[in-house]
């Protein structure tokens, strides 16, 4: 039974959600909303497991006095500080105006968000610029025909999108200017490749979903 019940649940849920796609009638019409609500709630329960896993590993590091134990302490302190700030600020006056939330400007939670969370997150995103440069230095080489095509199409699009490209090719008729070539590459061959990939992905999703629903693919439900 331990094995069969999850498989039955998977199958029934799968079929129900395929059907809701075709049936506008109640209750099928509400399935998608119900799923997203339930999913959010299950996620809110599950994050307790996640947070406990993070805390457990950090505490383990501290108790073992392993190499980086003060770093683990930093994680715990930061986690608790923003959780406490958010818990105190919370929601107030849910049904009356003005309702305040922990995310309002001026709260401690917001201060942490603006001055700690945001700069960290946007800097991590920004160092992508460095990696983009080193990846192009290494990867854009005419090693074989495929790599050469990659190089050329990237090169055209790159140079066609900066003013330099137009200075270089400004003397040519409009149809032969670099920016025009770049737009053409984006509009046509690029679309073709994207389409092939997308159609493939769609059919792959269909066959994977069927394997899941029929219980052929079930490694995540055993153990």
């Amino acid at each position: 039974m331990k094995r069969e019940i999850p498989l039955i649940i998977t199958f029934v849920a799968g079929v129900a959600f395929v059907l809701q796609y075709f049936i506008p009638h109640y209750p099928f019409s509400r399935f998608e909303n119900i799923f997203s609500d339930w999913f959010a709630i299950v996620g809110a329960f599950a994050i307790w497991l996640g947070a406990l896993s993070l805390m457990k590993l950090s505490l383990l590091n501290i108790s073992k006095k392993s190499h980086d134990w003060p770093i683990s302490l930093v994680i715990i302190i930061c986690f608790l500080s923003i959780v406490i700030a958010g818990a105190i600020d919370g929601y107030h006056g849910l049904n009356n105006v003005p309702a305040t939330s922990f995310r309002d400007p001026g709260t401690n939670f917001d201060w942490l968000y603006q001055n700690v969370y945001t700069p960290l997150s946007s800097t991590m995103f920004a160092i992508l610029a460095f990696f983009v440069a080193s990846a192009s230095y290494r990867a854009f080489r005419a090693r074989n025909t495929a790599a050469t095509l990659l190089l050329f199409s990237a090169f055209f699009v790159m140079i066609g999108r900066v003013p330099v490209g137009d200075y270089l090719s400004g003397w040519l008729p409009e149809r032969m200017q670099l920016s025009h070539w770049a737009n053409w590459l984006m509009a046509f061959p690029n679309t073709a490749g994207q389409r092939a990939v997308m159609i493939g992905i769609a059919l792959g999703t269909v066959s994977t979903s069927l394997r899941i629903m029929l219980g052929i693919e079930r490694s995540h439900l055993e153990g």
């Binding site: 009638h25 993070l54 990659l150 066959s207």
Partner: protein
């Protein structure tokens, strides 16, 4: 010399495409509307009916404009509703220019309504006669999706057919995928070197099929890992994925007969924040120096940050995603990349279970249909426009109708 030849080949390939299009004449495809000419205006006729293919609670109102809209001082059409059971009147909406149809979504299935439409011109209301009484209702099938249903049934039928025939022992041929041998090779190398494996199943939650596909590949990898006692480290961004991944790895250890070697901490949650997760994964990579990194699932902008860091520590990297925008970065920075559909196919290949392989054969039927439809459609269009062939036009319209999705 070979390199020169390759470059020449590519240059010819691209530039011949570009050259042909660049010497062609230009003309704009946009045209201007004809100017207004209004003489005498009749009254507005209004039709109302239950909105098709919906969950009830909506009535579609349609009207035609004898020319009010072109008058100076025209503001809009006012939709006027009478609840014929309750005997109440109210104005529903003033529609913007160019609108001739309106879905009133504020009705109840339990009442009947009648509608009038008024043109608002210079503060005047020019009201039409009321429509017939209508009642909204729910439908049990969305008629616009008939072809979706038929095509879907054909493809699902093909998948199930091949699964069944594989179960009965029919030998199915499938070509090999380049990235797959690399997976075993990568695990083998990590085992030899005594260094861990890093596995990232994308950054989406369990409500993305790519995450599930990533976890099924994890299942195969974990079996090898369990057999050879390699270390595996799997940071995750969503707690549900953590639970599912733990189940997956645990099962692999049980199958390998070493349940005691399994430890929950192999899979650990970091944070839900996209770039916080990336910062942590980067940290793990440079400190633990895994011999092999797997990035299999749904990825966004972080793909290159992780793949480049992995590259810098000299790990063997296998990636796979169905995010078209991130594929170029994986192709550039990883040793092997499962492109799009290959990600979904990989777990079936790795399992070597006939039923799984059968499902791939079914998806191939879908691709064959797609190619045939595209080619037939294009040929039909070409003939139809060149020789005005009626039958080809019919095919063209049929295909257009079949594949339009509402």
């Amino acid at each position: 010399m070979i390199a020169l030849l390759r470059i020449a080949k590519s240059v010819v390939f691209i530039s011949s495409l570009l050259f042909v299009m660049s010497i062609l004449p230009t003309h704009s495809v946009y045209s201007q509307d004809a100017g207004p000419s209004v003489s005498d205006l009749g009254s507005i006729t209004v039709r109302a009916h239950d909105t098709d293919n919906d969950a009830g609670g909506a009535i579609t109102v349609e009207w035609d404009d004898p020319g009010y809209e072109k008058l100076a001082g025209f503001v809009g059409f006012l939709i006027w509703r009478t609840n014929t059971l309750a005997g109440t009147n109210d104005s529903v909406e003033v529609t913007p220019f160019g609108t001739r149809t309106y879905d009133d979504r504020s009705v109840s299935d339990d009442s009947t309504y009648s509608y009038s439409v008024a043109a608002l011109v210079n503060g005047e209301r020019l009201m039409s006669a009321p429509s017939v009484q209508v009642r909204s209702s729910k439908q049990w099938f969305d008629g616009r999706l008939t072809w979706v249903l038929i095509l879907g049934l054909i493809i699902c039928g093909a998948v199930i057919y091949f699964i069944e025939s594989a179960k009965r022992g029919t030998k199915l041929f499938l070509r090999r995928i380049a990235g797959l041998e690399a997976i075993d090779e990568a695990v083998g190398r990590a085992t030899e070197m005594g260094r861990p494996i890093l596995f990232v199943a994308g950054i989406q939650d369990m409500d993305d099929v790519q995450t599930i596909a990533g976890l099924t590949i994890l299942g195969s990898i974990a079996r090898t890992v369990a057999e050879y006692d390699t270390k595996i480290n799997m940071p995750v961004r969503a707690s549900l994925v953590m639970t599912a991944a733990r189940e997956t790895i645990k099962q692999a250890y049980i199958t390998a007969g070493r349940p005691d070697a399994y430890n929950d901490d192999m899979v650990h949650y970091v944070t839900d924040e996209q770039f916080g997760f990336v910062a942590a994964v980067d940290g793990i990579m440079v400190r633990e120096r895994p011999a092999a990194c797997f990035f299999l699932g749904a990825f966004f902008a972080e793909s290159l940050i992780m793949a480049e860091t992995g590259n810098s520590i000299g790990a063997i990297q296998v990636a796979g995603t169905a995010m078209p925008a991130q594929l170029p970065f994986f192709v550039a920075a990883c040793d092997y990349t499962l492109i799009g559909e290959e990600l979904f196919a990989a777990s079936a290949y790795l399992s070597e279970e006939p039923r799984q392989l059968g499902s791939l054969k079914g998806a191939d039927v879908g691709k064959a249909i797609a190619m045939i439809v595209i080619l037939v459609g294009v040929i039909a269009t070409t003939i139809a426009s060149a020789w005005n062939s009626e039958s080809m036009l019919w095919i063209e319209n049929l295909l257009r109708q079949m594949f339009s999705t509402g």
